[in-house]
Amino acid sequence: MIVNTFELIKEKLEALDCEAWELAETCEERWEFYFIRHRLDQNRAVNTREYEVRVYKKSDDGQFIGSAADRISPTASPEDIDRVLEKLLYQAGLVKNPYYTITQKQETPEAASGSGTGVREIAGDYIRTLAGIEESDTAYINSYEIFVSGIRRHFLNSNGAEYEFEYPSSEVEVVTNARDGSHEIELHRIYHSGTCDPERLKADIVKVMQYGEDRLKAVPSPVNGRCSVLLSTSDAVPVYMYFADKMHADYVFRRISDWKKGDPVQGSDAEGDLVTIEAVADLPGSSTNYPADSEGSIIYDRYLVRDGIAQDYCGSRQFSQYLGLEKSSLISNIKVSGGKLTEEELRAEAGEYLEIVEFSDFQVDSMSGDIAGEIRLGYWHHDGEVTVVTGGSVSGSMNEAVRDMRFCKETVRYNNRVIPAVTLLKNMRITGVSV
C-alpha cells in the first residue's frame, strides 16, 4: 500500500525503464528572527518538504550514461509525477557521458554530533546570547539576523543504498557599529554553525566591535609594493580551500588542477610550513555534519594533502570513477593541521607585515590562483610599531605563495573548517591609497 509521496515516487521509479535512479526527500524546519538594535523586526517560520529525483539512462552500446534531474513538489499529483519521470528518462538519453555507476548499498553510518538538538533550543540560545553582549555608546550592535534549521534527509537509490539522517544548521549575520562623534564605522560578520556556541560567538563579536573602534583611528594605507600579509580571521579559509579544491576529482579530470597523488604540491624546495589537510565526516559544532554526501556515498575521514604531499582526491561518483578511484565522496568538513611555530613566534619571526582583519571581499580563485581583496582594516607592523590602516588592495598568486607560506601551531574552527589561527603569505602585492 502506498503510504506517502516518497513511496509513491519510489514505486514509479522502480517501474521506469532506466539504468539507475536516485531519490532524496529533504524536510526543513527553519526559524528566522530579524532584529534591528535588539528590537524584533520580523519573525519567520519555514516548513518545506522536497523530493529530488535523478534518472540515469545507458546508451545502447553501454559505453555512455546520461542523467537528468528534477525537484518534485509535495503537491504534485500521481499524474504530475509520471510526467516528470517520463521527461527525465527522455532528457537523460540526450546527454552522453562516459559510463559510471551510482553508489552501491553500504552499511548505514552513525548519526553525527549535534543531530539531536532542536530548532527552538538553538534559536533561543542565539537570541539570548546576542541580547546579552556588552555594548557601549561607541561600539554596539546595529542589527542581526538569526536562521536556525533542522534538516532531515532520506536518500535512496536503485542499488538499495539508503540513508536517513537529521542535522542542525544555523547562520547568524551580525552588523556592528563603532562611532566617534559623527564618524561611524560598520563591520559585518556571518557565522555558520550547527548549534549555538554562546561563549565563542560572544567573544568574536566583542573582537569585531574592537576592530570597529580601531578602524575609527585608521589612516589611509601607506603600504605600496610587496610585503607579507598576515591573515588572522576567517578570511584565511579560502587559502586552504585552494588546496582542497585542487584535490577535487572534478578539477583534476577537467585539467584545472594538475596535482597528482605523491606530488609535493608546495614545490620540492618549499621554504615555508607544509600543509596537511584532512577531510572529516564529523566535526563538533559544524553545520555540515552529515554521514553521507548528496549521492549517497559515505563521507569518510582521509588526508587530501599531508606534509605538502598530495594524498587522496575527493569528489563526485562521476569524476572519481573517471580518475579510477575505488572509493571517494564529496567532502563536508575540513581540518588543517597547525604549523611549527606558535602564533607569537610566527609574528616575531615575520618582520614587517600587514595584518588584514577586514576585507570588502577576500577571494582566492582556485582555478587561476589569483588572490584579491580590498582592505577595510589592517594593522601595519613595522619598525616596532603598529599603524592601523584602511583602503587599498592586496593581490597575488596562491600558485607562488604556497612555496613559502607560514602558519602557526594553534588552530581555530570557522564552522566546518579548522585552520591555523594565523597564516602568513609572503611577497603579496599591495596597492596603497597614496599611490
Binding site: F33, V46, T48, A68, L94, R120, R128, S393
Partner: protein
C-alpha cells in the same frame, strides 16, 4: 505567444483567498505570495554534460505575511491542501505562536510598524515569449550547445575546455490580499560560454561571455556571436601580465560599467539599509555624488532583462527610479515595509530569493545612462590608462562608499592608442564619489547584462541585470 499563467496557481487561488479570510480574523494584515516556476539548467562541456529541470529560480510554494500589534511575521510552506484551508490556517498560526512564545521567554522587544496599505488592485499579466522552457526542444538545444563547445575548442588555441551553460525559467506568481489579486507570468533566459586555458605563466585563465533577457530559450541561440569572440580574448589573456599598481584614467566597457553601477550606488541606495542606518546614501539625497555625466536608473521597467517583472514579491507594481540625475543623488529604491517605516512610497524592489525567503530591498536593472561620446574619442583622450573588460565580481560597502571590483582584464592605452598589451586580473578600488565624480565621458551606446546574481552581503541570491555605456573615469588599479 504569451507565457501562460500557472494552472496550478489558478486552481489553488480560491483556497488561498479562503486562507486569507480565515487569517484575517486573527491578524491586522494578511497577504500571500504563491509561486509556480518551471525551468531548466543545461551544462555542456568536453568533460561532462548534464540536464536538470532545477535552477535557482524554479520553485513551487507559498508565503503568508501577517501583522498583529505592529509585528510582521511570515510563514512559508510548500504543502497545501486546497480542500482544507482552515487546517492550514491553524498550522501556520501555531508555528508563529510557537516562535512568539520563545521571544516572550527571551524578553525580546518589538520594532513596531504600521499596517501596510491595501488599496484594491487587480492585475493579470502574461508577457511575450517565443518558447517556454518546460516545452521547448531540449534535444535541439543540447545538440546546439554541444556544437558550440566543439567549435569553441577547435578555434580557441590552448583551451582546456569550453563550457556552454543555459538557464531558462517560466515564472508564475500570484499575490493576494483581502483586496488585491495580482498574477504575472513571464520567461527569462540566460546562457553563457566559458573557456579556460593555461597562461604563459602556468596559471589558468578564464574567459566568459553571455546572453540574457526577458524571453524564452530562443535567446540561447545568440551565443553564436559570443563564441566567435572567445579565441581572441583567450589569446590576449594567456599572455597577460600583472598590472603596475597605481591610479589611472580608465574606460569601462558596458559589463564593467554595470558592475560599478551595481556595487557603487546600487547597493548604496537600497533603503532597507536606511532603516537600519547602514547606508551613507541617506545623508546625501539632493547632494552631488558624481559628475554631470552620471545619470543612473534602477527598476524592473528599465530594461527587458532577466528581472523585468510586472510586480515585485510584495505586490508593488514595477518601477523606474532615477537614482542619480546628472551627478545629484535623487533617491533610492525601497521595499514596502521599509517604505512604510521611512514614510516614502515603495518602488517595486521588494524581492525574495524564493518563496521561502524574506523580502529585502533588492536591485533589478541598474543602469547608467548613455552620453554623446564615441569609444574612439574616449581612447584618443587617454595618455596613460586602460580599457577594462569582463566583470568577475564586486562587493558593496554602502556605509563607507568603498568599492571593490575584480575585472577580468585591462587593455593598455598609451598616447591615445591601444598598445595591444593586456594585464590580468585587475582589482579596481576607490571611494565611490571620487570614482563617479571623475566620470568625464560616456559613449552613445549601452548594453545591459543579466548573467549574474546578487547577494545581500553573502546571502539571499536574486537575479539582477546591470549595464550602461562605455565610461571614462579615474580609479585606483592593482
Amino acid at each position: 505567444m504569451k507565457a501562460p499563467f500557472s494552472q496550478y496557481l489558478s486552481d489553488i487561488a480560491p483556497a488561498l483567498k479562503d486562507l486569507i479570510a480565515i487569517l484575517g480574523s486573527r491578524y491586522d494584515y494578511v497577504s500571500i505570495l504563491s509561486t509556480d516556476s518551471a525551468g531548466f539548467n543545461i551544462s555542456i562541456s568536453q568533460s561532462s554534460k548534464s540536464v536538470s529541470n532545477q535552477n535557482m529560480t524554479t520553485e513551487r510554494g507559498s508565503v503568508v505575511r501577517v501583522c498583529r500589534n505592529g509585528l510582521y511575521s511570515e510563514a512559508a510552506f510548500n504543502e497545501f491542501d486546497p480542500s482544507d484551508a482552515a487546517r492550514m490556517a491553524e498550522q501556520l498560526t501555531q508555528r508563529l505562536e510557537d516562535q512568539l512564545a520563545l521571544l516572550e521567554e527571551c524578553g525580546s522587544k518589538i520594532y513596531e510598524t504600521d499596517i501596510l496599505p491595501d488599496e484594491p488592485l487587480e492585475l493579470y499579466a502574461e508577457k511575450e515569449t517565443q518558447q517556454l522552457p518546460e516545452s521547448c526542444d531540449i534535444k535541439s538545444l543540447v545538440e546546439y550547445m554541444s556544437g558550440l563547445s566543439d567549435s569553441g575548442m577547435e578555434k580557441t588555441e590552448g583551451a582546456l575546455d569550453v563550457i556552454v551553460r543555459a538557464v531558462s525559467t517560466h515564472i508564475s506568481k500570484i499575490f493576494l490580499t483581502a483586496n488585491r489579486d495580482m498574477r504575472q507570468s513571464y520567461v527569462f533566459t540566460e546562457a553563457s560560454v566559458v573557456s579556460y586555458a593555461p597562461s604563459v605563466h602556468g596559471d589558468i585563465r578564464v574567459v566568459f561571455d553571455g546572453v540574457s533577457g526577458c524571453g524564452g530559450p530562443e535567446i540561447i541561440y545568440g551565443l553564436d556571436e559570443k563564441i566567435s569572440g572567445l579565441p581572441k580574448v583567450m589569446k590576449d589573456l594567456v599572455t597577460a601580465d600583472s598590472i603596475e599598481p597605481g591610479e589611472y584614467d580608465i574606460i569601462t566597457e558596458p559589463g564593467v560599467t554595470g558592475l560599478i553601477a551595481h556595487e557603487a550606488f546600487g547597493h548604496g541606495v537600497e533603503m532597507d539599509m536606511f532603516v537600519k542606518g547602514r547606508a551613507l546614501g541617506a545623508e546625501y539625497i539632493g547632494k552631488r555624488v558624481g559628475s554631470d555625466k552620471v545619470t543612473m536608473h534602477e527598476g524592473a521597467l528599465c530594461d527587458e532583462s532577466v528581472t523585468a517583472y510586472v510586480f515585485d514579491d510584495e505586490g508593488t507594481p514595477a518601477g523606474d527610479v532615477t537614482e542619480i540625475d546628472r551627478g545629484i543623488l535623487k533617491g533610492g529604491i525601497c521595499d514596502a515595509l521599509s517604505a512604510l517605516r521611512l514614510s516614502v512610497r515603495p518602488t517595486g524592489n521588494g524581492k525574495r530569493e524564493n518563496y521561502a525567503h524574506k523580502v529585502y530591498t533588492r536591485m533589478t536593472n541598474t543602469v547608467f545612462d548613455s552620453g554623446d561620446d564615441t569609444l574612439e574619442d574616449m581612447i584618443a583622450s587617454i595618455e596613460n590608462g586602460y580599457l577594462l573588460a569582463g566583470m568577475d565580481s564586486g562587493m558593496e560597502d554602502p556605509k563607507h562608499w568603498g568599492i571593490q571590483c575584480i575585472i577580468n582584464r585591462g587593455y593598455e592605452i598609451r598616447d591615445g592608442k591601444l598598445t595591444g598589451k593586456v594585464v590580468a586580473p585587475v582589482i579596481m578600488t576607490g571611494y565611490v564619489p571620487d570614482v563617479l565624480g571623475s566620470v568625464s565621458m560616456a559613449s552613445k551606446d549601452r548594453r545591459v547584462d543579466g548573467n549574474g546574481a546578487c547577494g545581500k552581503g553573502y546571502k539571499e541570491w536574486v537575479k539582477v541585470a546591470d549595464g550602461g555605456p562605455y565610461l571614462k573615469m579615474r580609479a585606483r588599479l592593482g
